[in-house]
Symmetry: D2
Subunit: 150 residues, 4 copies
């Protein structure tokens, strides 16, 4: 692991996942000497935003174009505690072809261990009407062509 926290692609379960790295900080830990269970949430956010960026969709530009993506559902399962100073690898894929929802699935890993599994469901919302809208077809194609939809 080099010091620059490289991101990249990995084959996985017949599809591909995009991964980023996060070095565990004191700020992430709690007095049980492990990562606080809520501290993984911003890691998942960074992982999915970087995944979208990688396939050509910058969330900040989507917002400016009037598409919001609030989180509507979050599920996290904690198997093994992450520890201070570990470099975590957050692997991201999409489950199900997006409709008006976009469902991400994440593995948070340290070396060969899966520490945490998570699913986050986002809703496409039209900023001008505040109402649900459908995923842009080009976004679905971009995710699909990169092998991200499992």
């Amino acid at each position: 692991m080099d010091k620059n926290y490289t991101s990249g692609w990995k084959k996985n379960d017949g599809g591909k996942v995009f991964f980023i790295h996060h070095r565990v900080r004191y700020a992430d830990t709690d007095k049980m000497d492990m990562v606080y269970h809520g501290s993984y949430i911003p890691m998942l956010e960074a992982a999915r935003v970087d995944t979208l960026r990688e396939v050509g969709w910058v969330y900040d530009e989507m917002e400016k174009a009037g598409i919001l993506l609030p989180v509507v559902d979050l599920q996290v399962k904690y198997f093994i505690p992450a520890r201070y100073d570990q470099i975590l690898r957050i692997e991201t894929r999409v489950i199900e072809r997006p409709t008006s929802r976009l469902k991400f699935s994440f593995d948070i890993c340290h070396e060969n261990d899966v520490l945490v599994k998570a699913q986050v469901c986002l809703a496409f919302v039209d900023a001008s009407t505040s109402r649900p809208t459908r995923a842009p077809e080009a976004l679905i194609e971009a995710l699909d062509s990169h092998g991200l939809i499992h």
Copy 2:
């Protein structure tokens, strides 16, 4: 709502819930002008720890007595955004009689609206062996006698 963020009991669905209040701070919000989805996690923690305290079980003392309660599963559904300066009411109950797991269910409310629903499952762990252990019988009775197990 008085300024002192009173906690208390409420009848609900044939059982009782214990509630605490949390005033939304700038720190909890994000640029979508709502509470960041991860900011609810510490509110849930405060709600369940205060609920246990209310029925006579101080988590800090449980830890010192050798019982740890790490979070093993978290599920959150987001219905309506919470906004800055709102006073949120976090209602806590227990679902299922505890075994080696303790399952809390939460409603995060503003006035008459349920904004967020969450479930958090904790595991009883023996600190000396780091292995799962059973819920203390007296804790189950305390929860039960207060009408908290739904």
Copy 3:
């Protein structure tokens, strides 16, 4: 200390301070088994917003009326670590008569100990022009008449 985290007034150094309480959560701690140094920042925010509210100035309404109060300077001195489950008392006063700046001074205490001392300087900004503006005279009077300006 009752369970409801009462806030209130206290005489102090020839003036008065307004205090709120915060119960330390797991979320606030780090692996050194103390409160993470960054976790005090939202406590200071809650303390000053509740202090302003107490003297009749609701920050949320000030914003809606076009006055923003971004933080421009923060100083924190850490003397004694705060620990999990302690109820901290955050005492707030104003130092210097406000001009285009509002300077708060805080003591974060546990029982009779001052654990942390902090100063936070906010700037009055006119939301319509994004330029500095003067403190409303009525706000200065409200702070002064409550003995908050030390």
Copy 4:
């Protein structure tokens, strides 16, 4: 700026600074559509820990060897708001030759702008006695030989 958030060295003011990058996440922002003033604190932590690592001192190993480095003083000046999705460059140097204290100075920059300036003072503490201790001579030399002491 490549996607991998490269860290590195830069000449600055007759000495050198070590920089890391941080991409601003939703989690870092607040409803004023800027980075919350407390969200910079973990960035400073990551910056100084990576700087120490770069010169051969892994903080996690220092702790295991019995040297703790709690934060005793923090000063932050906010000049320009950081915005969502910006890649911030956190530049770290040491001010004054360490004694029993280690004083870092930081510039948080976006492109050519310095957004935030901060100083963080840490105390060397002997974990076995909980008393102040002197900085290891080899650490001072490592910082000095890299041009980090300004």
